[in-house]
Subunit: 139 residues, 2 copies
DNA sequence: CCTCACGTTGACGTCAAGGGCAAGTCGGCG
DNA sequence: CGCCGACTTGCCCTTGACGTCAACGTGAGG
């Protein structure tokens, strides 16, 4: 139970076995092998795969993930990598901001559809283009 | 100056002309045409393209965008679309949460690399897997 | 009139993240 | 022993969001 093969890991991490082999091919997920060549994973691999998925959904490419994963493992990075870490961090922050703006747009549509309010309506629609001063309304 | 052709719009919205034609092909960006067939856009198109980019970076497919954009325009949605709006909204929220978690991971690595602190270190690494109670540390 | 940058459509290329199939191997069970 | 499901590698296929190239039209300046 402590060690599992690829099928079980796939089931527990909710990904396909194909994806797991792909991750290994990209160098971001490692496995032990039985003498006959079958992949064997420990418990930690489940959490590992979840982290990989988070980074993927953060828009990081597998090459980038391959770069930073060792740093996450060891808990520190070679100093020359710091700038690229900062770059990725900033990119993620930008994406988050964009997402939050998009979500506010959706919220406005949902709000207006669920509670059609002619008076309120003009105000919100007029403000839709701008970023600031909406948070309070949308929240 | 009030009307622009595709090149100017592309420059002002920081996308390629190819992307703009692609958006039109997907039915998410419309244009007037001159008698000779050239695309003509008004000022609003710049903001429009930015919104499209936000929705793309939110992971929405162009078909989905094509569905919800009219709602954003009119300010309301046909009721039968509400559930899919909520679905997309929730998906965006999930992506944001994943992104924030990924950013916290990066922050930890950056923090540890810039200020190697053996005592602090074990605490942070131990907390890396969990979502809650980290925000205060990361912020 | 000529030029030349900008525009048009259409078709094909690319790249990432897998999906799917083929052909063979492994391993546990009756 | 034979069986069968899970596993292996290798290979090509798919999807989405464009890039790129070809072949041609447009329109303002000199």
């Amino acid at each position: 139970m402590q060690n599992m093969r690829i099928g079980e890991l796939a089931a527990r991490a909710h990904v396909s076995t194909r994806a797991l082999r792909y991750y290994e091919e990209q160098g971001i997920l490692h496995s032990e092998r039985t003498p006959s060549g079958q992949r064997v994973y420990g418990e930690a691999a489940v959490e590992r795969v979840r982290l990989i998925q988070h980074l993927y959904s953060a828009g990081l490419a597998s090459r980038t993930i391959a770069l930073i994963l060792p740093c996450v493992d060891t808990g520190h990075a070679p100093p020359e990598m710091l700038s690229s870490l900062h770059t990725e961090r900033d990119r993620i922050s930008t994406v988050i901001a964009d997402l939050e703006q998009a979500r506010r747009r959706l919220d406005q549509v949902i709000e207006l559809t669920e509670h059609p309010d002619p008076e309120h309506c003009a105000i919100v629609r007029d403000a839709a283009g701008r970023t600031t001063a909406i948070a309070g309304v949308a929240a």
